[in-house]
């Protein structure tokens, strides 16, 4: 069975291997330059020094290309390896040939799923490793690996995505019986799950940490936004800010939060300390002394790997459920 | 060795067609005593015919005393069929000629003669049974 699976699957696998090889060549060459550029940065550069900005800017395109490859690989594998697995047999009628050999349908499916999922995880895993190595300097400068899109393309989770996509494709193929329809549905469902996961599931894998962060020189340095809200600036306009937790995941995201005094009162334009002459926000140096606070919900950086494991496990469980559903469908239907 | 063929539109059962063909070959001198008939398997594969049909034909020929099987070797011709030109048939032929002449004189066309012959042939066969 493994031989047959490999024989039928060879061409697709070699095509993927070729893409992987091309990506490897490109990212290794560019990556070596990037790594030496990173090594030449001053030792105390924390992502804000001018050299870091230049480095990030120069390697933005390969960085995006690499991330896009890891992001797309499971989806494409699901559509091109998973969906045809059963649908193609049904379309060409060869299921009537193969299911009458001396191998039960369940075993046939198990071998196909295992070999294809293993190949999918291998290809995606290698790609993820490669891109992780390549992007390592930039990840250290950006400190954003917990952010939704970054989380998806690093570490373990791409393996889970790949296995899930294969099982999803196979299942869609069985119930839709047409390869193209199965491919489309696989892509659509996979994308939907990938969008739902960071929006609805991942934030709740562990209760978020709620913390009142004191605004000082360091935290103000990571503030991505700082100012007053409201259409017109008046005495009652609240002061708002949004903070980044380095390598953590701020769940309030880009939504700026109200800045409060130590006693909980919101700071407004009228009541702000260190009033600036021009009517704009006060200087950061002055504010850092003013004992102001901001509330932040976030997943801290040390939860990164637990979250990777949990999410991978969730996807593998979904894979197993789909495989079971496909086995059940294969045994009872086909009419 | 002879070759068989089957004519599906003839209305004659396939096994009987094979029997007729062996008899014909005996009459025409294509088969002699001691000749081996083709193997059942070869006939089945060559003519695309059910091997049981071939077996049935060979059994029928065996019952007629024309062939006999030697286990593990094959089926061999053991009997002969009289040549229709032999002298003992001659008086019968003369008689039939005379009868045909009188039938024609009575106004029967060839088709009616044939029908009359077959009908009479069948009913006497029935009576003898």
């Amino acid at each position: 069975m493994i031989w047959l699976t490999w024989r039928q699957f060879r061409a697709q696998f070699l095509a993927a291997a070729a893409v992987l090889a091309a990506a490897t060549g490109y990212l290794v060459i560019v990556g070596l330059q990037l790594h030496s550029g990173f090594d030449n940065l001053p030792a105390d550069c924390d992502g804000l020094c001018p050299g870091a900005g230049r480095l990030i800017g120069r390697y933005r395109n390969p960085y995006y290309i690499g991330s896009a490859l890891v992001l797309l690989a499971p989806a494409l594998i699901g559509a091109f390896w998973g969906a045809p697995m059963i649908a193609r047999e049904l379309e060409t009628g060869t299921h009537r040939l193969i299911w009458n050999q001396g191998v039960r349908r369940g075993r046939w499916l198990a071998a196909k799923l295992l070999v294809t999922a293993a190949a999918a995880m291998l290809v995606t895993g290698l790609l993820s490793l490669l891109v992780s190595w390549f992007a390592d300097p930039l990840d250290r400068l950006n400190q954003d690996r917990f952010q939704p899109l970054m989380f998806d393309v690093r570490g373990l989770v791409p393996l889970g995505y790949a296995a899930f996509a294969v099982a999803l494709g196979a299942c869609a193929g069985l119930f839709l019986r047409r390869t193209t329809a199965a491919m489309a549905v696989t892509l659509a469902v996979f994308t939907a799950v990938q969008v739902l996961m960071p929006l609805a599931v991942r934030p709740h894998l562990r209760p978020a940490v709620h913390s009142e962060v004191a605004l000082n020189a360091t935290t103000l340095g990571t503030a991505r936004m700082f100012g007053f809200s409201g259409d017109t600036l008046g005495p009652d306009s609240p002061m708002i800010a949004s903070l980044d937790i380095p390598d953590g995941w701020v769940l309030t995201g880009n939504e700026p939060q109200a800045v409060r005094h130590a006693d909980g009162r919101a700071v407004t334009f009228g009541t702000q300390p260190c009033r600036a002459e021009a009517g704009g926000p006060a200087t950061r140096e002055c504010l850092a002394q003013a004992d102001l606070h901001i509330a932040v919900d976030y997943q801290p950086a040390d939860r990164y790997w637990p979250f990777q494991w949990i999410e991978t496990a969730i996807y593998l469980a979904l894979t197993a459920a789909l495989a079971a559903l496909t086995t059940w469908g294969l045994r009872r239907r086909l009419g | 060795m002879i070759e068989f063929h089957i004519e599906p539109r003839s209305g004659v059962a396939p096994y009987l067609q094979l029997v007729h063909q062996v008899r014909q070959a005996l009459r025409l001198g294509l088969l002699h005593q001691g000749d081996r008939l083709p193997k059942v398997k070869d006939v089945a594969a060559k003519v695309a015919i059910n091997p049981n049909t071939v077996l049935k034909a060979y059994r029928q020929l065996e019952n007629e005393g024309l062939v006999s099987p030697k286990p593990g070797v094959g089926t061999f011709v053991t009997g002969t069929l009289g040549d229709p030109a032999t002298s003992e048939h001659e008086p019968l032929r003369q008689e039939l000629r005379r009868w045909l002449a009188s039938a024609r004189a009575a106004g029967l066309d060839p088709e009616s003669i044939e029908a009359l012959f077959h009908q009479t042939f069948r009913s006497t066969a029935e009576e003898e049974r």
Partner: protein
């Protein structure tokens, strides 16, 4: 006579469409059984139920006294050549044989190689480039080299030209002769002349019902066409079952089933060819249909 395939009230529905309804039949051992009937009679459904590709909606089907495709041992005993003889277009002939060898416990590699060589096929050729006849032969080789005890063939020659059809039937008969009645073959077709050649048992199926079932020689010996002056079928002697009747103003033509021909000056009774015999049963089935099927 042991039954190789036995169905009881076997029914298969696809949604609201009924493909096979309440079909009860047995396939005797060691025979080449022809399954004949009009398109849509349920022949293909019946064969696919027997090899376990389909599961019944209701009723039972048993092969060797067990449910079809129950385990790999059972699968190994049944060969199936599906309609249009599907093969993997991208795989070579050698790949197909290797597939058979890897997946079947009793695979006869020597037999498979011998057949492919005798057919003059190049093992390195892709199945997608074979002609219809060659593809059918490849599918038959795969099914035969399993050394099946039951070989099911679903309209294998329907799409073939006469030459390829003859070659296919020759291969099939060679298998039957070599198996020396150990194997049972069920072959569906609507080409009665082919079935007459290669089968020794016939099952006529129409509207899921078995209309006639028996050894071909017996069927031929007991079916007659009776031509007579117009008369009521009820006035025919007992022992004659009327299968089909047609009347003109003066004449009645019956297809009857009787143990032997009865000579009577008032009629002509002659044997019936297999094709006409099958047609008589099918026409009767078609005549009965409106009465059997209530209007929806």
């Amino acid at each position: 006579m042991t039954a190789i395939v036995e169905t009881r009230a076997l029914t298969k529905r696809y949604g609201r469409r009924t493909a096979l309804a309440d079909c009860t039949l047995t396939v005797p051992a060691g025979r080449v059984v022809g399954l004949v009937g009009p398109n849509g009679a349920g022949k293909s459904t019946l064969l696919q139920l027997a090899c376990g590709l389909l599961t019944p909606t209701s009723g039972t089907v048993e092969v060797f006294g067990r449910p079809p495709a129950a385990d790999s041992a059972q699968l190994g005993r049944v060969g199936f050549v599906a309609q249009d003889t599907p093969t993997y277009a991208a795989l070579t002939i050698a790949d197909h044989l290797r597939l058979g060898a890897k997946l079947n416990p009793h695979w006869d590699a020597a037999l498979a190689d011998r057949r492919i060589r005798r057919l003059g096929l190049d093992p390195s050729q892709r199945a997608g480039r074979l002609s219809g006849g060659q593809r059918a032969q490849l599918a038959l080789t795969l099914a035969i080299a399993k050394r099946p005890e039951l070989l099911l063939l679903d309209e294998p020659v329907a799409a073939l030209d006469p030459l390829a059809r003859r070659a296919f039937l020759q291969s099939l008969m060679e298998f039957v002769a070599e198996s020396e009645s150990e194997a049972t073959v069920v072959l569906s077709s609507h080409l009665v002349s082919d079935l007459e050649r290669v089968c020794d048992h016939l099952i006529v199926l129409a509207d899921s019902r078995v209309r006639a079932d028996g050894e071909i020689d017996d069927l031929l010996a007991t079916h007659f066409r009776l031509t007579t002056a117009r008369r009521d079928p009820d006035t025919l002697p007992a022992g004659m079952r009327v299968i089909h009747a047609e009347h003109t103003e003066r004449q009645s033509t019956f297809v009857v089933r009787a143990d032997a021909a009865v000579d009577d000056p008032s009629w002509a009774m002659e044997p019936l060819g297999l094709e006409d015999l099958v047609l008589a049963h099918l026409e009767t089935a078609a005549d009965l249909r409106p009465a059997l099927e209530p209007q929806r």
